[in-house]
Symmetry: C2
Subunit: 448 residues, 2 copies
């Protein structure tokens, strides 16, 4: 296959998928992007280096697979699962949160969701109904783009801070300026950060927690990449510090989204739980009482009104898988931090190849000016190009990633996922980026 | 165990679950009811005759279980499923719709959902965004209560017609009066009807279809109990008339919710598809273009914006189960109508016992004044009692069902599900209803 690919072929696929042309790719959802690339591969008979979708790529933890199969053999498929979650799961998840986040969240404050995607959708919906004057969600950008898409579907307002510009103490002023307006219902972030892999520190989380208390704002903490700050060699031992940094130590106004997709490579089955701080879980809101003609309790409304209405609960067999994997992790039979460390190695190699061809990491610094770590995701661009410029050209070279525009990043560039690249693809990446650089390097200044 | 149960025990459980007392049971969601009854059983060490939750109770179709296990063994759990559905599924579902509904819906107009609950939630969300002046969903009541709950969660207005009062030609005027107002975005019904088991006829569906055309309203047709009008002995042969009656023969403005929960007893795994009429699927709406910065196409918005945001698709292994069961049904290897006929037999026995103790069926007539059939659900009350009166008393007698209030029924009574009663429980039902009748029968007039 010769790169760049035929322009007409690529553009035609884009329009087939409802975009105006390849220039509109920045607006495509990740899944639209997946569909577009798949179709280009089919029509051009080529294979991309896929960095667009955050697929785990490691095999699923076998303990989960076996537990799910056993549950199916035992006949769970014909019975609606308890909407509150099967007791084995809520028990295991409560232990898991204690073992790896170092937090106490009792079983009755945990509920399974169809992936953290559903968890976040349900929380956005609920939190927007708690207090009529709080109509805006504050994102700590750059963010997982679908979380902003969720707000657009539901019809919520969003505001944001680019966390890259406000590390450490400067976060306090930036956040407080937003919270003072009185319209912020929730603060939403993922830690480690998708897409940039920056990691909020305990110090920064304390700032967030203190302000959540002062302004009575709820924090939605997405820990999809729990303990995957691989720079710290001591993470991931159950019930041992250092734990995943968490806002849960500094405020009771918080919920945690704990997904099995990445830590147990179980993304295909849509498996996650919401862990709600017990204080918030048991709080009553008059607006909920009015809307649902109930006692207006946060947790009960989340479970019996919202999650019930959205999907009637989570696949029964998947709940058994989650329970088994979380239990195994607590008992040291699954070391998910060690297992996923390969992503950091892949990211490291990709970044090396990129730098060779005049690409670079966009969000390159973490807190305290440390270099950002290697992990599941990274941000990049070519020379001084914008993300849109790069996306519109890179697609012809058999390399796929998504634009940072949809992540709300103030900085220009793209998000790459290091997980799905195979060992036999690093050479292809090297060659294609070399071609790209050959075609787009600025003309050298003529010697005098 | 002696019935009635201890009043304090029952009332205390109700308040623990966020109700004011047992009088508030009419407001409880079905799943809240399940939780309440479960807790009463635990505390009182008794077993109810459960008629509240529509659990299939038959074992799941083994073909589905085996396919799901094989998919898990093949390693599907670590990969996000295509948001559009795996090709095997959309192909099988397209065939299934042809074989049992007699309709042509191409593969690209079919998408899997986390049960039809998610299907309906997603459609409600999408349809309410198509045209800003259409803010109301018209229910043909009595309805599946959670579908109204969905509207409350999303924040949509609802209007309704009690279909029991408008059978045959009288439906036309009643519907048209509602549609003329111009605010109806969609007409929603289940056929056979949950809770009453009334069945809309082809004649009535033609009326609905014609009016949907005239007023450009979208019909959401929920066929969770596909072909389960057991009065007709010839239903359920693939590709052979008589098919499930469907509005899809009379309007292109329609979508069909096809669930595997009841027909294949697969409720636990949350397995369903939406089949969108191709004309509607390919239609573009300016309001969607504006909201999502896209071409505004109905189907693409449903899949890539709404369903993606709500849960990132449907459990990968479950999609293989669905595909296998639908394929088997088309090929005559699963006769789901014959398999589920046992529900009709159970309903028949329950109704006989009830009548003995002065209970009766509330929605007792179907179209053309035929007696309503026996099936998965039925409606009932005691003498001339309201549903609330009955619910508040029946709960002390170890028999559980839900109030018709939440179904929007104009008639008073309760919904019972015939599926979960075991053969060894008919005697218990008989005894408990006898006790109930002993305690509440009006005093006989004294002989002169």
């Amino acid at each position: 296959m010769n790169y760049p690919l035929d322009k007409n072929l690529v553009d035609n696929v884009c329009t087939t998928f409802g975009l105006m042309d390849a220039h509109e790719l920045g607006n495509a959802t990740i899944r639209q992007m997946v569909g577009i690339i798949r179709e280009i591969e089919r029509q051009a008979d080529c294979e991309y280096v896929h960095m667009e979708l955050g697929n785990p790529s490691l095999p699923s933890e076998q303990i989960g697979v076996e537990a799910q199969i056993e549950a199916l053999r035992n006949g769970c498929a014909n019975k609606y699962p308890l909407i509150t979650g099967i007791p084995e799961l809520t028990k295991a998840a409560s232990e898991f949160v204690r073992a790896f986040l170092g937090l106490n969240v009792p079983e009755e404050c945990i509920v399974p969701t169809v992936g953290s995607m559903q968890g976040c959708y349900a929380l956005d919906t609920l939190i927007s109904q708690l207090r009529p004057d709080r109509d805006t969600i504050l994102f700590l950008d750059p963010c997982f783009p679908v979380q902003k898409q969720q707000s657009r579907v539901i019809g919520l307002k969003v505001d944001s801070i680019d966390i890259g510009d406000y590390r450490g103490d400067s976060l306090r002023d930036a956040l407080e300026k937003k919270l003072q307006k009185g319209n912020i219902s929730a603060i939403l972030y993922s830690n480690p950060n998708n897409p940039s892999w920056m990691c909020l520190t305990e110090y920064e989380l304390r700032i967030i927690g203190q302000l959540a208390n002062r302004y009575d704002t709820i924090v939605i903490e997405d820990v999809a990449y729990l303990n995957m700050d691989f720079r710290d060699p001591n993470r991931g031992k159950p019930y041992c510090a250092p734990f995943q940094p968490s806002v849960g130590r500094y405020t009771m106004n918080c919920v945690h989204l704990v997904s099995c997709s990445k830590i147990f490579s179980y993304a295909g089955e849509r498996a996650a739980v919401i862990a709600v701080n017990p204080d918030l879980a048991h709080r009553h809101f008059p607006a909920l009482t009015k809307r649902y003609n109930s006692d207006g309790q946060f947790m009960r409304t989340l479970v019996y009104q919202i999650l019930y209405a959205i999907s009637s609960g989570v696949s029964h067999s998947v709940q058994y898988a989650m329970a088994a994997m979380m239990k195994a992790a607590c008992e040291g039979r699954i070391n998910f931090v060690q297992n996923t460390r390969v992503y950091a190695e892949r990211a490291h190699r990709i970044k090396q190849i990129m730098e060779k061809h005049h690409f670079h990491v966009v969000y390159d610094k973490d807190a305290d000016n440390r270099p950002v770590g290697d992990g599941f995701f990274f941000t990049f661009t070519y020379r001084d190009w914008t993300g849109e410029q790069l996306l519109n050209k890179l697609i012809y070279y058999g390399v796929s990633a998504i634009s940072l525009v949809s992540t709300g990043a103030k900085r220009e560039g793209m998000r790459g996922c290091a997980a799905s690249i195979r060992d036999d693809q690093f050479d292809a990446l090297d060659e294609r980026l070399a071609l790209f650089d050959r075609d787009f390097a600025p003309a050298s200044p003529q010697p005098l």
